[in-house]
């Protein structure tokens, strides 16, 4: 185990990793059990954020900036994904009410 010196106090890196794992698990649960497509997108955002937290934590641990830059890249990718996903969602909602993700299970034009 390794300690990080944060503001004068010692903190173990694995706490950050544990928190990220918990957030990721929460996002996974949300994707699996929620029915609303919008909430599923929100849970995907949560998972991406958890991954970002691990990247930044490791970056601080090895004192290397690559992790932070990678987190920045994944942030832009997450923003792009949210934009396109929400646009698709709005388009679907215009055609019909789709409050249950299983209503969209057929793949016809």
């Amino acid at each position: 185990m390794s300690m990080l010196d944060i503001g004068g106090s010692q903190l173990d890196t694995s706490w950050f990793l544990l928190l990220a794992a918990m957030l990721f698990i929460l996002g996974t649960i949300g994707v699996l059990i929620r029915r609303n497509p919008l909430v599923i997108l929100i849970c995907i955002e949560l998972m991406l954020n958890a991954a970002n937290l691990t990247l930044v934590a490791f970056s601080r641990q090895v004192q290397n900036l690559d992790g932070q830059l990678f987190a920045l890249m994944s942030m832009t990718v997450a923003a792009a994904e949210a934009v396109v996903g929400l646009a698709i969602l709005v388009d679907i909602f215009r055609h019909r009410d789709a409050e249950d993700i299983d209503d969209l299970s057929e793949l016809k034009g």
């Binding site: 950050f16 928190l19 929460l26 929100i42 970002n52 937290l53 932070q68 969602l89």
Partner: protein, 156 residues
Amino acid sequence: MAVAGGIGVIAFRQPIRSVLSLVVVMIALSILFLLLSAQFIFVAQVIVYAGAVMVLFLFVIALLGPAKEIAKGRLRFQTWLSALFVLALFGLMWAMLQGVQYRQPDKADLNAFGTVQSIGIQLFTTYLYPFELTSLLLLTAAIGAIYLSRREGDDR
């Protein structure tokens, strides 16, 4: 930190509330980024996530109206099955956490670590190519979103 995790649990309710609790999680995470001496990521997190993306989600919810969550699922055992798999996944992550070993740190200057200046130097020298690719990705996403949202109006 446990507070942030607990607020993540609250993200399991109606859409508007889950968006708002996600904002809380984002802000808690951004404070953690600040603790990890990643100032630029902190600012980007607050502006991009807690600002832009969440406002986007709120706009879409306002546009679509409050969608009620349908409680009944097609698969009755879906919740239990997913809980089982998720627990297995968490166990896997836990086991990985036990075995993690860190390499020797790079002895970087922690005062300059994660500032806008150092990030910018890295971003425009070593990571210039991925940076340009990111701009292309954002352009594609913007064009795709505009196309998706105006197609209907032009047809009719």
